[in-house]
């Protein structure tokens, strides 16, 4: 029996029971669509987050303290320990392949006044000019060391006067001392921080380490008080990131002040952007797989619907099976016919479910304000599942149909 004829007979019997077939297909549509929705949404979130970190910070090596029994991305400065001394920062600059070393520290602000308004910003990040690269600067320029200059991010600028803020003066009170600083630039993020990807909504002030950062502690190596920082980012030559990472690790564990200042239960973690991206991808991937796995359950329910309806179909058409066998249908012709019907139901589910899932997934990403990304592997998986599920669900009913005794079937009313 040729495939075209099998397909024609199967589609005709599906059409003969429109409502029943439609409900069965609906079960499959829901299953396939929900798998695609969750997979697409997961992939979109992942692409958004990773994309934010990945591009411009690809050659960063982050050096942070972390509690030894904790892990995972985003665990930066969990202890907030001020481990890294100015000596460490200077030594790191001398490592081969290092382009810049960017320490970061926090400066508490007891009050901020702009244009006679008080602004609710209670801290600034103290860092060095290397943190501002061209593609982050939205307006103006980065600050210079030793100047009374302030750089803010877009969220902070929105609180003041938008892009017009550049050039204006802000009054800061630091350690009880009132200081006027000039806003010299607005940035969309910084090199060395993670604000590029998802910290953009929080207003940030950036001040030069000199003269504003004054936190000091004793350096074990030179025996004098120097500046100490909670976090250091090493910017490496892009072609030598892994070499630099190894050198930084070696220096940090063997020679640095930080290693000697390390409290119990804290370790220094050296991670590249790639490491962090990998960890975030892994985490989001796990969540996506878990949620999508739940959606797969609805696919299984859809499959049971197909099995059920095919069984009913076989029972109803017992007499037809007898007739077909009497006029020369072999067992495998009958099997093929019912199996085709089941696979066709699964395929219909995929044909409707995939666009529906993509549409809902797109709507979800639009609602969550993340860029839309296709989860191609899950897409193929869903379509394959639709066909496979139809086949698996149909195989037993179809096999039963093929085994029908034509004499009994012809007598069947």
């Amino acid at each position: 029996m040729d495939a075209a004829e099998t397909l024609r007979i199967a589609s005709r019997s599906i059409r003969a029971h429109r409502l029943r077939s439609a409900l069965t297909v609906l079960g499959m549509v829901i299953g396939i669509a929900s798998v695609i929705v969750f997979a697409t949404f997961g992939a979109s979130v992942q692409a958004e987050v990773v994309g934010g970190i990945g591009d411009t910070n690809a050659n960063n090596v982050f050096v942070v303290p972390a509690e030894t029994d904790q892990g995972g991305p985003g665990d930066f400065g969990a202890t907030g320990a001020l481990l890294f001394t100015q000596v460490d920062v200077d030594d790191l600059r001398d490592i081969e392949g290092v382009r810049a070393v960017i320490p970061q520290g926090l400066v508490p602000l007891s009050s901020v006044t702009y244009d006679n308004r008080t602004i609710g910003q209670n801290q600034a990040i103290a860092t060095v000019p290397e943190t501002f690269t061209g593609n982050y600067v939205v307006a103006g320029r980065g600050f210079r060391s030793n100047g009374s200059e302030l750089v803010i991010n877009r969220a902070a600028a929105d609180q003041l006067a938008g892009n017009d803020t550049v050039g204006s003066t802000v009054q800061l009170t630091i350690s009880g001392e009132r200081r006027n600083v000039t806003v010299v630039g607005i940035v969309s993020g910084t090199r060395g921080g993670f604000s590029a990807g998802f910290g953009d909504d929080t207003p940030q002030f950036y001040l030069p380490v000199d003269p504003f950062y004054t936190t000091r502690a004793r350096s074990p190596s030179i025996g004098a008080d120097v500046k100490v920082y909670p976090q250091v980012t090493v910017v490496a030559d892009p072609s030598r990131v892994s070499d630099v990472k190894r050198s930084v690790e070696t220096y940090m564990t063997e020679e640095s002040d930080a290693a000697q200042r390390l409290p119990e239960g804290v370790e220094i973690r050296v991670q590249t952007s790639g490491d962090i991206v990998g960890e975030i991808e892994e985490l989001i991937g796990q969540i996506t797989r878990f949620v999508t796995g739940i959606a797969v359950i609805s696919l299984v329910v859809g499959a049971i619907g197909i099995a059920n309806i095919t069984l009913v179909s076989v029972a109803e058409r017992t007499k037809e099976i007898g007739i077909m066998k009497a006029v020369g249908a072999r067992n495998r012709d009958v099997l093929q016919m019912f199996l085709t019907e089941a696979v066709l139901l699964g395929a219909l589910g995929a044909v409707v479910g995939v666009p529906l899932g993509l549409a809902v997934g797109w709507a979800a990403t639009a609602y969550a304000e993340v860029g839309f990304a296709l989860a191609t592997d899950w897409l193929l998986f869903s379509v394959a599942m639709g066909l496979f599920v139809g086949a698996v669900a149909g195989i037993y009913p179809a096999w039963r149909a093929s085994k029908v005794d034509p004499i009994d079937a012809l007598r069947y009313e």
Binding site: M1, D2, E320, A326, A329, I407
Partner: protein
């Protein structure tokens, strides 16, 4: 025309070859069939029967006589427990299930009491159905189906579904379907059982025409009046052939 059959109690070696007609289309030799229905029931007990090519035979008997079992064996729907059934030279008990299905499709044309048409297929599609399983190309099988439907007087009902046809018309579609693969044997099981007397007469006339065209016809019925259309009547009772009555007049 010479007709020839032997009761089951005669030995194989005493069998004579048919005289005038060609090789036998059907040869049943010592066929035995029992059913286990909470105790063994013997439906056929060593039946031997031969149908020469071009013959018209009626098998007659009361219900429970074993005539349906004999029909199922000759039609390849069932296999004997002992003995053999050969149709168009093939031993139906020895071939594979698939081969038996193919023989049903190409060598045997069934005509049932209840028509047994596919309800969702049109007349043409019903007639073409055996050709689908025989692997005919679509255009060829539809052409053949149209030709045969025209022959049985349904040229104007090609695209009607069974529910849109009268009982007599349905039986004509069924007969056309039986003829579609040009079978060695047409098997008619109470073909007039579900139609009125006038329509039944028309159907018996059609079967006579089919026989006149050289086809081998086996008719199963419980009615003497219907059976008399055949050249001979095989009377069957309690699973065995009781007697064979020759109506052709020539012998």
């Amino acid at each position: 025309m010479a007709v020839w059959a032997i009761p089951g109690d005669m030995s194989e070696t005493t069998r004579r070859e048919p005289a005038a007609a060609g090789d036998p289309v059907v040869e049943v030799a010592g066929a035995r069939k029992t059913y286990d229905l909470g105790g063994t029931v013997t439906a056929l007990d060593g039946v031997s029967l031969s149908l020469p090519g071009g013959s018209y035979t009626a098998v007659m008997g009361p219900s429970g006589s074993g005539k349906s079992t004999l029909l199922n064996l000759i039609g390849g729907l069932d296999t004997p427990d002992a003995g053999s059934v050969r149709v168009a030279g093939e031993d139906l008990g020895a071939v594979s299930e698939d081969r038996r299905a193919a023989i049903r499709g190409t060598e045997v044309g069934f005509v049932f009491q209840t028509f047994n048409l596919m309800p969702r297929l049109t007349a043409v599609e019903n007639v073409a159905l055996p050709l689908v399983f025989d692997g005919w190309k679509k255009s060829r099988r539809l052409e053949r189906a149209r030709d045969i439907l025209a022959d049985v007087g349904l040229g104007d009902r090609l695209d009607h579904r069974p529910t849109e046809l009268s009982g007599g018309q349905r039986q004509r579609v069924a007969i056309a379907r039986a003829l579609a693969p040009d079978p060695a044997l047409v098997l008619a099981d109470e073909p007039t059982g579900n139609v009125d007397t006038d329509t039944g007469a028309g159907i018996m006339g059609l079967l006579a025409d089919i026989h006149a065209d050289g086809n081998t016809v086996l008719l199963v019925t419980h009615s003497r009046r219907i059976a008399e259309h055949a050249e001979r009547i095989v009377h069957i009772r309690d699973g065995a052939i009781e007697r064979i009555e020759d109506l052709s007049g020539g012998v």
